[in-house]
Symmetry: C2
Subunit: 162 residues, 2 copies
């Protein structure tokens, strides 16, 4: 099988996320949805993708519980696509992607927008990872530990495999 190796059953959570939303269009669809886009035609117009692909992506996102379809809401009886809680949870990922581009892109002048706090119009802070006691952590300050079984006495052996 040449099939696009699915990471659905990989035990690495990064791989799992990528399996769900790790393609260009899904991420951009969620981006638009976070800005209030909910109609098929509007997604299509704003993203400029082919309708068949949009159909497939919307269905996949819906199947995964990232989007849900609501009957209508605005006038005419078509359906609209709304984010679920899981879908809204993608927001930090999009922010991280945005900030990476803002910091490292070699043509930052082509970036036209900045993300600001709606309250006062000021740019948001850079996302940072903190320890429980509030120290900022870089990649080198972290390690992977085998997950301590939540309720069951199920405990894997430690191995830094992902």
């Amino acid at each position: 099988m040449v099939k696009r190796t699915s990471f659905e059953h990989d035990d690495c959570p990064i791989a799992r996320s990528l399996d769900a939303i790790g393609d260009w269009w899904s991420m951009l669809i969620i981006r638009e949805a976070l800005f209030g886009v909910s109609r098929f035609g509007e997604f299509q117009k704003r993203l400029g993708l082919a309708k068949n692909i949009l159909t497939v992506r919307l269905r996949a996102l819906t199947d995964q519980g990232i989007l849900k379809t609501a009957p209508a809401s605005d006038g005419s009886a078509y359906q609209e696509y709304l984010l679920t809680r899981k879908g809204r949870g993608v927001f930090p990922i999009l922010v991280a992607l945005r900030q990476w581009s803002e910091e490292f892109d070699e043509r930052p002048e082509e970036i036209s927008t900045i993300l600001v706090d709606k309250e006062n119009g000021q740019p948001v802070r850079k996302l940072e990872l903190y320890s429980q006691d509030g120290r900022p952590l870089g990649a080198g300050d972290t390690a992977l530990k085998s997950r301590p079984a939540e309720k069951q006495g199920k405990r894997a052996t430690a191995s830094p495999s992902s």
Copy 2:
């Protein structure tokens, strides 16, 4: 051309990031690199991808300044792939992806590892977006503003297009 519409010249920073690292393998290669993997064979063994793909990905990542090749370091004269500063900057994206999976995956018991603070072994905090004055911000608390021209008097008109 049916070519995978490149977002390289899109003015949305999210699209630009996705264009650079928005495929499964690139992201996973960077994940491994952050854990110290640097040799071709090791990437191949740990990720289980085909060598030709690894070749293409490594070259693309190198061309983009995310990885750099160093002559050897450990004994024999082969080369190794090391992360640049830009490459290490991907870390928050990977953390965001990981945490999304940890929070919303419907089979969290299959996730085998957790990310911990190396100092004390405690789990890291959840990534959160903050305003300049320290309030936590959700997607709804933010807006996009046209970028205020940095040095030049180049100013785009406001439009919430990305």
